[in-house]
Amino acid sequence: MKSLIFAYTINGKLTRSDMEIISHSRVISDDIHLITNMPLDVPIKGVKKILTPKGGINQDCFAKFIEMAFMKDDYSYIIGKSDIVGKEIASSLSAILDMEYVSDIQSLENNGKLIVKRDFFTGKLSGKIEIKSKSILLLKINTYPIKEMDSEPIIESLDFSCPSTKKLLSRNITSGNKPPLEGAQIVVSGGRGLESKDNYAYVEKLADLLGAATGASRAIVDLGWVPQTYQVGQTGKIIAPNLYIAIGISGAVQHLAGIRNAKKIVAINKDPNAPIFKYADYGIVADFKDFLPVLIKKLEELKK
């Protein structure tokens, strides 16, 4: 089976999650081509061919470039990353190529039949779908291991451009030095139990020491302590870190919906009856103001 993996980049560099997708696609495909929206700084291994336009092209044009590549060769699947831009590109391809598209895929099984597994109802149930025809598959990031890859690709650079009806007026990078919530290996979150906006500094300090992203419950977003982009949960972000640390978060169903795929959860709450303890792997019943300074000091010593 031949697959076409698309990777959209704003700086010509592939990310860890792109490598994750490429590596894992080998479960269903032994002949993988990569298509990007601009030439790569460093060509990667593990694919047979890399297709790029000669100059950089925007996202809408990239979808047309992928369509063109797909029509020219005999691919069974188009595979990409299940992030916001990935979903926009996949939706566009689904319409243009009249192909089914499944997002947020958490596992691929290939025993003669291709079965993909993803969550439904914001993680309440998982569901298996058999893929019976040529399809677009988006894989959830921070889910798959990266395996060693060695094949050297052929690079094919093509002339491609298209008119644009959508104008980018500005772009601000918001993540700064911190990892973004989606795809972060560790996330530290705070809730109303923090008692005041100033105490969110504890969350930031701990996150800093662990190289973690910072999140929040809906309660403190609504109080205006942190921006909405920090919100984890049903109407916020759905995340799947290796470790989630919840500080002063009681654990409402809506919040839990956002962390169902966290691999491990540690909860710190002074109320021993907080629902979050039913859901966490480890619990610390303590006032964060007493406990966190001790933990932070020890982590700082460890860093030295």
Binding site: K87, S91, S92, S94, A95, I96, M99, E100, Y101, V102, S103, D104, F120, F121, T122, G123, K124, L125, S126, G127, K128, I129, K132, K166, K167, L168, L169, R171, N172, I173, T174, S175, P180, L181, Q185, I186, Q228, Q234, N242, V253, Q254, K263, K264, P272, I276, F277, K278, Y279, Y282, G283, I284, V285, A286, D290, F291, V294, L295, K298, L299, L302
Partner: protein, 248 residues
């Protein structure tokens, strides 16, 4: 006058208890509500109407004939509704988008707004596929917008950045939480909405759909509570992060 469409999906609420019964979905308890993200879409369409003047139509698709969420949208301030009643449930976003496309292509909406995703299947695809079928510009995850003449300026939030785009109308935007605070309909408006125009269109769905075999998720057994002095607990936690979680 600006013609706006808003896509509204009826979904099981967050509190619903759901299990798998031999691969089929079984609802233990739960009620049907308006998809929370679509409430932001409805509110945004009404705000545009209040600012610039517009005719707003809510569009919903289901196999049960349920009108409640469309009535709710009209109680909030939407002018009229279209209910697409299919002869069976549709899961595939491509299929859903095609059915909606067939019904609304003649409406000539200038702008269509929907929530960023529905909380039942979490595909966040139908409205974006619809945009591509209609040949409309599309942008997802919008947190701020303003319509200016035949353009819309939309700011959206990505995982690691914020982008502001200028799009020519017609366009579809999907909106996220933070764009507005949806209003509650007043009682008189709720009463009035019961008599407002709702067009029901029945559609027989052709072809194969995606079929889903549901599975329960492993249950959590409750946290192991770490005991001791704060010093001791901190040491235990660091050891767990190091040896069990391998994160430090």
């Amino acid at each position: 006058m600006l013609k706006i469409g808003v896509l509204v999906k009826s979904v099981l609420d967050t509190e619903a208890k759901l299990i798998s019964e031999n691969g089929a979905l079984k609802i233990v308890s739960g009620k049907i509500v308006c998809n929370p993200f679509d409430e932001f879409a409805i509110e945004e369409s009404i705000r545009i109407k209040e600012k610039l003047g517009a005719n707003v139509t809510a569009v919903s698709l289901n196999s049960t004939g349920r009108e409640d969420e469309l009535r709710y949208a009209m109680a909030m301030g939407v002018d009229n509704s279209v209910l697409i009643k299919t002869d069976r449930d549709i899961v595939s976003p491509l299929k859903r988008a095609k059915v909606i496309y067939d019904v609304i292509k003649g409406e000539k909406f200038d702008l269509i707004i929907s929530g960023r995703e529905a909380i039942d299947d979490n595909f966040s695809a139908t409205s974006q596929i619809l945009a591509n079928l209609l040949g409309y510009n599309v942008i997802s995850e919008v947190i701020e917008e303003r319509v200016e003449g035949n353009k819309i300026i939309a700011k959206r939030v990505l995982e690691e950045s914020e982008e502001t785009y200028e799009l020519n109308l017609p366009a579809i935007i999907t909106v996220r939480k933070g764009i507005n605070n949806p209003r509650y309909p007043t009682l008189p408006n709720v009463m009035k909405s019961k008599k407002m125009p709702l067009k029901k269109i029945e559609v027989n769905v052709k072809g194969d759909d995606l079929s889903i075999y549901y599975e329960d998720k492993p249950q959590k057994s409750g946290a192991k509570i770490l005991n001791g002095t704060y010093e001791e607990i901190a040491d235990q936690l660091i050891a767990i992060m190091k040896n069990e979680f391998h994160v430090i």
